[in-house]
């Protein structure tokens, strides 16, 4: 078991433009009204990087910006953990399509293809020079990344920016990995309780198969997105003494108790 303090939360998904909206939906006060997400434009990226970066990177950075702003802690003072199943589906597709044809890869597409590209862009844009780790654990990526980030906050005695994101998979990859909507969640975690903490949570691994358990408000079309497990867990942070169980491994769940 470990303890973590959540200083702020950022959310981006169709119908969920930020934490305020997501909290009301997670509490059941308002229904989710899905609206096509406006492609997010991260403020911190200079124009050249905005053009060069992938839509996935822009999604991750935009949701991270929400959490950083709400935390009122400079990104340069935080360590970073980014979690995603796919580095960037649209880049993988572009790359593999070119490799099956002319094989003339663009250098920008190649460096955008690394799993840590969104983290790299954010680090460059915000001058964040502390530890930055890009992690994956397949469909368990949200819970695995959250625990990794919490342990990092504890070990470093510093705030950690945690971001988990997925963007739609292009055809034909979508047939094998049916991610159709962008979903993303970001949190600033702190090792010690701060006055402005939004919630304090204990994290514990328990034996439980919760792979098929979803809050009713999460659209089934999001179930393929590992980061949607982060949205499903928001209920734990949205109310006093909230609790959520998110899949952590086959037959295991990460229990989040606030």
């Amino acid at each position: 078991m470990t303890k973590v303090h959540v200083r702020s939360i950022g959310v981006l998904a169709p119908g969920l433009p930020g934490w305020e909206a997501a909290r009301s939906v997670a509490r059941g006060e308002l229904p989710l009204e899905r609206a096509a997400i406006t492609p997010p434009v991260p403020r911190c990226l200079p124009a050249a990087e905005r053009r060069r970066s992938s839509p996935t990177a822009r999604l991750a950075i935009a949701v991270a910006e929400q959490a950083i702003d709400a935390a009122a802690i400079p990104a340069a003072d935080m360590e970073m953990v980014f979690a995603a199943s796919e580095a960037a589906g649209e880049i993988t597709h572009q790359l593999c399509e070119v490799l099956a044809g002319t094989r003339e890869i663009s250098p920008t597409v190649f460096h955008n293809s690394v799993h840590n590209a969104p983290l790299g862009y954010l680090s460059i844009a915000m001058g964040a020079k502390l530890s930055g780790t890009s992690v994956c654990r397949g469909r368990w990526s949200f819970a695995a990344g959250l625990l990794c980030a919490a342990l990092q906050a504890q070990a470093a005695r510093r705030p950690v920016l945690y971001v988990c994101y997925d963007s739609p998979m292009p055809v034909p990859l979508q047939a094998a990995c049916p991610m159709v909507d962008p979903t993303a969640v970001a949190m600033v975690l702190a090792p010690e309780r701060i006055d402005a903490a939004l919630a304090s949570a204990s994290l514990e691994i328990v034996e439980a198969d919760v792979e098929r358990e979803w809050p009713a408000w999460i659209p089934p079309s999001w179930h393929a997105n590992p980061s949607a497990r982060g949205l499903a867990a928001l209920g734990a942070f949205a109310a006093a003494k909230g609790m959520a169980r998110v899949p952590f491994a086959p037959g295991q769940a990460l229990e989040i108790r606030c």
Binding site: A100, V114, N116, V135, L151
Partner: protein, 391 residues
């Protein structure tokens, strides 16, 4: 930090399958690199391959994971009694207390490339294309977990070429917090079109054998490798003493010109190990042989270690194994400590004086107590590790 015991380790790379073969190649100054003859990537360059991995058959229950990365992972796991060492840990602490932490940059993407080359008329991928068990960055980690029969908290790290160095740092935090009692750390990356054509597009691939820190270096050679180490609490002859992780915050594919982020990572690793720079007996450099990396890293190393500490890059022996570079060079650092041999850089002919640090192309017998291993990746992602040999 409290030192961690390294109770087993193994490397399989182009220079050797297992530790003994790798050490023999390092001692003989023999490169595992060869001129590229891959018919699916006819680029004028040298590569480092492990062709023996092709013949590995996965157990029936794990056949869904079959891809180049999985085969190399299983070949590597069978060397140096590593599997048995994990089995002993499992017996001692329980399967749920052993985690797997692996690095990779491209996982099984070679399978995806092949699928894209065989799309149907309507553009769809072949029916046998498997996303979750081959393409996913986590596929090899889940395979290794199942193959070893362990169920502790696990993670895949993909931070380009620092991936399988950073797994040591992540695993240390899980051990320290009591989430696991033993951690299998490591990494696997295999040759694919993505990295061969990708690095080629950045004009970073050398047509000649790579020559780290050479005044006439022309770029890197891509290699494939798999390797593992077992970390546990307690006493052992070999130990992980410290690690440092930083970001350059400078450029996506070019290092900071003075290696500022690299220097901070090395300094943080020394601090974690409670060591002065003078205590380090050898630095295994990232040393890709790209003009920019070697210049920036050499200067940062010199800034921290001055002229005293002998350094070399072993990428002229193994190639740049990308997501597996961290574990490959960690294993080489551990072999160096164990054997009392400081590896050289046999393909380097004339050291570039502008790199400043004390680069030693010739390997030599040396009593080594503490060594550092550097790994840096795209996105400006840096990791330095310090290993030691108990007195």
């Amino acid at each position: 930090m409290k030192p961690l015991a390294v109770t087993a380790f193994t490397t399989t790379n182009p220079a050797g399958i297992g530790n003994a073969a790798t050490l023999a190649a390092l001692r003989a100054g023999r490169t595992g690199l060869v001129p590229n003859t891959l018919d699916w990537a006819p680029i004028a360059c040298w590569v480092g391959a492990v062709p023996e991995a092709e013949h590995i058959a996965l157990p029936q229950a794990l056949r869904d994971y079959d891809c180049a990365n999985a085969r190399l992972a299983l070949l590597a796991l069978e060397q140096d009694g590593f599997r048995d060492a994990v089995a002993r840990s499992v017996q001692r602490v329980g399967a749920h207390r052993v985690g797997v932490f692996l690095g990779t940059t491209t996982s099984g993407i070679r399978s995806t490339e092949i699928a894209y080359a065989h799309r149907a008329a309507d553009g769809s991928l072949p029916a046998n294309f498997r996303y979750e068990t081959c393409h996913d960055m986590d596929a090899t980690t889940e395979l290794v977990r199942r193959f070893l029969g362990v169920s502790g908290p696990s993670l895949t790290i993909s931070t380009a070429c620092s991936s399988s160095a950073k797994v040591f740092a992540a695993a240390e935090r899980y051990l320290r917090a009591g989430f696991v009692d033993a951690a299998v750390v490591g990494g696997v990356d295999t040759l694919c079109q993505t990295t061969l054509y990708g690095f080629n597009s950045l004009q970073l691939v050398s047509e000649d054998v790579c020559r780290p820190y050479d005044a006439a270096r022309k770029g890197l050679n891509i290699g494939e490798a798999g390797g593992f180490a077992l970390l546990e609490d307690g006493e052992a002859a070999l130990q992980l003493l410290g690690y440092g992780e930083t970001c350059d915050a400078h450029h996506m594919s070019t290092p900071h010109p003075e290696g500022a982020g690299a220097r901070l990572a090395m300094a943080a690793a020394l601090e974690a190990a409670s060591l002065e720079a003078a205590a380090i007996d050898y630095v295994n450099l990232h040393g890709t042989a790209s003009p920019a990396n070697d210049l920036a890293e050499g200067r940062a190393v010199h800034d921290l270690f001055g002229d005293r500490v002998p350094c070399s890059s072993t990428k002229g022996v193994t190639g740049h194994t990308l997501g597996a570079a961290g574990i490959t060079e960690a294993a080489i650092a551990l072999l160096a400590l164990e054997a009392g041999f400081r590896p050289g850089s046999p393909t380097t002919r004339a050291v570039d004086a502008a790199t400043r640090c004390r680069f030693e192309p010739a390997g030599a017998d040396a009593s080594l107590r503490k060594v550092m291993s550097n790994s840096f990746g795209f996105g400006g992602n840096n990791c330095a590790l310090v290993f030691g040999r108990a007195a």
